[in-house]
Subunit: 148 residues, 2 copies
DNA sequence: TTGATATTGAAAACCTTTTTCAATTATAGC
DNA sequence: GCTATAATTGAAAAAGGTTTTCAATATCAA
């Protein structure tokens, strides 16, 4: 949308990032990166493993875990807490963004522009807490699932 | 020890609720209810099990799981997602409330009065989602941990 | 091309949660 | 207060999901 056409896609960006950080770019990692970078929804390790084997036969589940760990460490991927399933992984947010998740198909979209400063101040005053960060996720039906 | 409290405390309320729903009030359940109802922080099954055995020797971990399941079903307890640990249990909110969690000691407090309607409408317009619910948690330092 | 070493997958180990099952216990009805 | 009966219990086993171990393999710098 706001991305120039010649901009490198996430797939290339992530592989470059791995490489630049001294990690090796291997066939299993390419398969995993391709799947997670292009997924519209957060995926669990097992889903990634299943999809990944369609692309790279010998892929091991262990490698999925290890690769996700590295992608998360590099800030490329982030763990998402669904009501069911707390080890789901999604491309990371761009700065300060939050998620809207479709309760039907799982589709995830980031949005920005939350302004909860007034709220955090009020809570800080009332509870005595010093607020450092917040988690915000919206749930609902995406435009596709809404029309069914 | 049992709570000699004349006001309707959570402990009594929860046991009554179990009883009224046709569930039996047993020694293991009393131990579990006492711990969870009085805890200032969300607890995991293993923590509850450990603390519970101090009160009821023969307590089994399985019973902790089963009792939490019933307390949740009755709306007395709710599951809390911490960054680490997604199976933590805490006394349920009173209506529409959200949590502030202390990142140091885990202390949990509910607050109300969030107004994110404007936000959900904006997000709905931008993304095409039909927003049904939201999930909001604040993190920070409680007044005790702040002064250290 | 080669060599050092990061990475791999299989298997085993772990840890948490669920199921199974015989024994126990709370409670309603007498 | 008893008794019958059905819910509840804890131990053990099973089931998941995640992590560790380790020898074999593949990447990448030189």
């Amino acid at each position: 949308m706001t991305k120039p056409d010649n901009a490198p896609n996430l797939y290339d960006q992530w592989l470059d990032s791995l490489s630049e950080s001294g990690y090796r770019v291997t066939a299993p990692r390419r398969a995993i990166v391709e799947i997670v970078a292009n997924s519209p929804r957060a995926l669990g390790p097992l889903e990634i493993y299943d999809q990944g084997r369609a692309e790279y036969r010998g892929l091991g589940l262990v490698t999925v875990y290890r690769t996700l760990e590295k992608l998360e460490e590099l800030g490329l991927v982030q763990r998402v807490h669904h009501p069911q399933g707390c080890h789901m992984y999604l491309r990371a947010a761009d700065g300060h963004e939050h998620l809207v998740l479709c309760t039907s198909c799982g589709k995830a979209e980031y949005f920005s522009g939350d302004n909860i400063d007034k709220l955090t101040h009020a809570v800080a005053r009332k509870t005595g807490f010093e607020i450092r960060e917040h988690w915000l996720q919206l749930f609902g039906l995406c435009s596709d699932c809404k029309n069914k």
